[in-house]
Symmetry: C2
Subunit: 444 residues, 2 copies
């Protein structure tokens, strides 16, 4: 990462020169769905915006599992943040690591020692996966939040098949051909279904010593059903569909042990060399930065106008906050919720700058839940309108294409899906390691 | 990588059970252009083939520089080797690391302790970049041979612009905005031209604190001209075109020093944070495995039928060998040469199996040399037919599309090029690190 701190004098954190030209300075931390939507919502407002992210790209997380399963290339679901805001001269993009907030001095603290002053701060820092007090499991059961997570999981899945082709010991071969996914939310279900299709449809003609169709895909869920956020009959449909694809679904089974080649759940052990974590998330440390009230998952308990209690100039949105929806349940940690919050916060800031009263409290509108299980298998829960099967799958596909940014990525994803579903060919079956020996000395 | 050695008893290297069913066993090491062409040439021959590579993918190296410069995604120029030979049941693909050959026992030795018996061996193991006795330079000046090399170079280039946007010290900013490419063969020229276009056309609207058009791109060459393999007037044209793109071309300048932020050439030092090596290659250690006669670059000096002296059952082809072409000059280390050699070796093996006499010695036919410098700038040297400019650029593009494998990749690359040249938008501007903390324990 960038650390130009050695440029700077020792002592207090020096302020970064902001190109504010006297304008109200909005600093947004996080270039995900919420942060970007706030930038969009502030268009035409006389503010100067600094958008900070520790990655250079915005990521379309709903399709991340397709990178992990060799269906899409990383660049098809990611865009340079700078590029997305290139037409907005008042927006400055910073690739930097935020390590804290000095709320009294109104400064965002960077890991290189610099501090960035703000008049209004929007924290949209997202979440990472959580291992419920078992952080040591991360080594054995990586989760899926970043592009690197996805290529790591992809490498593990593909290497497991390669290794199974090489070994002769039947027990080790079986362990290599056992894929365990922990957590049966949308990501877990989508991963399990796609790995099953990979093993049963895509890979069989390519191997000589193993029959990849014998691979076991086990989806473990601590709760009583898959896709708990959906209506019960859709859960049941998803469950049946997974089983038809050959996935073993294990409900009411909390995982009690994870190691490099074994998972223990419900008192039983399964030997598996590939374990993927899709069970829980923990918010970014934004609550800790502020000493703000937070729930058990570390999410800031924001006020109805999405500000942090006692800090009306600090908003927090997306996966890093918790707030009740109109039905009393917490607003779910999904892209549409983050976007609605980003849009709302932009509206509040505009009102304040105009001197208007704050608009109505944030009100989440649930558009619906979508999940795909496999080819022509999906479920859609729009509340009163529920759908499953082939039509749901087509709607799922069109909705995701629609929400991708840019025509090129849309065409490119359509092209890949066409090949996957008409030719059983997945384009991104690459085993790569990003870190090269030549990379010991990055430019900064 | 795969190391199932702990499955195996200690002692001698156990033989891998080959699915030969009494057939003549051909082992091919290397799934590059030469190795794959040998597989293709052996179709319909009663042999069993084992194709070993330490990577799971075949790589279209001529376009690798486009991955390094954020123009193409890795999966657009790479294919799983297994997938390419899926229709050939007699071909077994192995992801494994070859560490030697026991030529007397006719076995290929793997790093996991196993040994693979062969009747005929084809070594198509390629080359890596060479630092002429300065291996320590690799850390500062990575070369470009693998997908990981390319994403490493891509990350360095993009991070340099990001860091330049952050720093305030003008001297450090200048060093960050200086890109040095060492070696002015086709790869060096293509890299220099594309980085210049990136800085001058693609990136300017995305940055606020720096003018990326001020970036320096310096192409250093020890010899007297760029593209030494081309006719002199084409070299001169390429030189002029590079300068028109803003590249500083430094000829007759051997590099004497490389460090993390400095290159010294011709007695002068330049501060640069991004240095890329495109100057020289060294053959794989295949010659060492066999104790075979080799030239200074480690290339096996094969006999006219491409066998290793004294070992008629061992062929070596591609970048790992040297052999004189019809004009007396060595056959160049390019894809068409490797393919011709792979095809020739398949023909020799077929003749031998039929009991025929060996065909004529290998005769290289030079189809021509192509290099692109930038948008609508390319040179083509077909011997008597020489071409430069826009038409050459279109021919270059069509030729590369033609030689890509599969319709999907062709469409996908065309799509990207369309966007690059009509919208100045490069799709793969991702800064990623492949190695995750979660990746400490790969499945094997």
């Amino acid at each position: 990462m960038i650390s130009p701190a050695d440029d700077l004098p020792a002592g207090d954190r020096p302020a970064v020169a902001a190109r504010s030209e006297g304008r109200h300075r909005v600093v947004i931390v996080g270039g995900g769905f919420g942060g970007l939507e706030a930038v969009t919502g502030l268009a035409g407002t006389p503010v100067s915006i600094t958008l900070i992210d520790r990655r250079n790209h915005h990521l379309f997380q709903p399709l991340l599992y397709q990178v992990a399963t060799a269906s899409l290339a990383p660049s098809e679901i990611a865009w340079p943040i700078r590029y997305l805001v290139r037409g907005r001269p008042e927006v400055t993009t910073m690739l930097a690591n935020v390590v804290g907030v000095d709320a009294n001095a109104r400064r965002v603290l960077l890991d290189d020692g610099r501090a960035l002053p703000y008049d209004t701060l929007i924290l949209a820092t997202g979440a990472r996966h959580a291992y419920f007090g078992h952080d040591e499991w991360e080594t054995f059961a990586p989760g899926l939040k970043t592009l690197e997570d996805a290529t790591t999981v992809r490498r593990r899945i593909l290497l497991a098949f390669e290794a199974a082709e090489s070994v002769t010991d039947p027990r080790r071969r079986a362990a290599l051909l056992t894929f365990v996914i922990i957590g049966a939310g949308p990501t877990g279900v989508e991963l399990a279904g796609t790995i099953a299709e990979l093993a049963r449809v895509t890979l069989p003609p390519d191997f000589r010593n193993i029959d990849t169709r014998t691979a076991r895909v086990i989806l473990i869920e601590a709760g009583p059903r898959v896709l708990a956020g959906f209506a019960e009959n859709l859960s049941a449909y998803a469950h049946r569909s997974l089983e038809r694809l050959g996935v073993e679904v294990e409900l009411n089974q909390p995982v009690s042990e994870c190691s490099s080649d074994r998972v223990v759940f419900g008192g039983r052990g399964v030997e598996a060399r590939t374990i993927i974590w899709a069970a829980g998330v923990r918010a970014s440390p934004a609550a800790e930065w502020l000493g703000a009230p937070a729930d058990r998952a570390g999410r800031i308990m924001v006020l109805p106008d999405l500000t942090v209690p006692g800090r009306p100039e600090i908003f927090a949105i997306g996966d890093t906050v918790t707030i009740a929806g109109p039905d009393g349940h917490p607003v779910p940690g999904i892209a549409p919720a983050a976007k609605q919050q980003g849009r709302y916060v932009a509206r509040v800031i505009k009102s304040r700058l105009r001197g208007d009263t704050t608009p109505h409290p944030f009100r989440y509108r649930h558009a619906g839940s979508l999940a795909t299980i496999g080819k022509r298998l999906a479920v859609i829960d729009f509340g009163r309108f529920k759908l499953r099967g082939a039509l749901a799958w087509w709607i799922w596909g069109f909705a995701h294409i629609y929400f991708l940014i840019g025509l090129r990525n849309r065409l490119s994803v359509v092209l890949n899906w066409l090949w996957i579903h008409t030719r059983d060919q997945r384009s991104a079956r690459l085993i790569t390691r990003g870190q090269q020996s030549a990379d010991r000395s990055p430019p900064e």
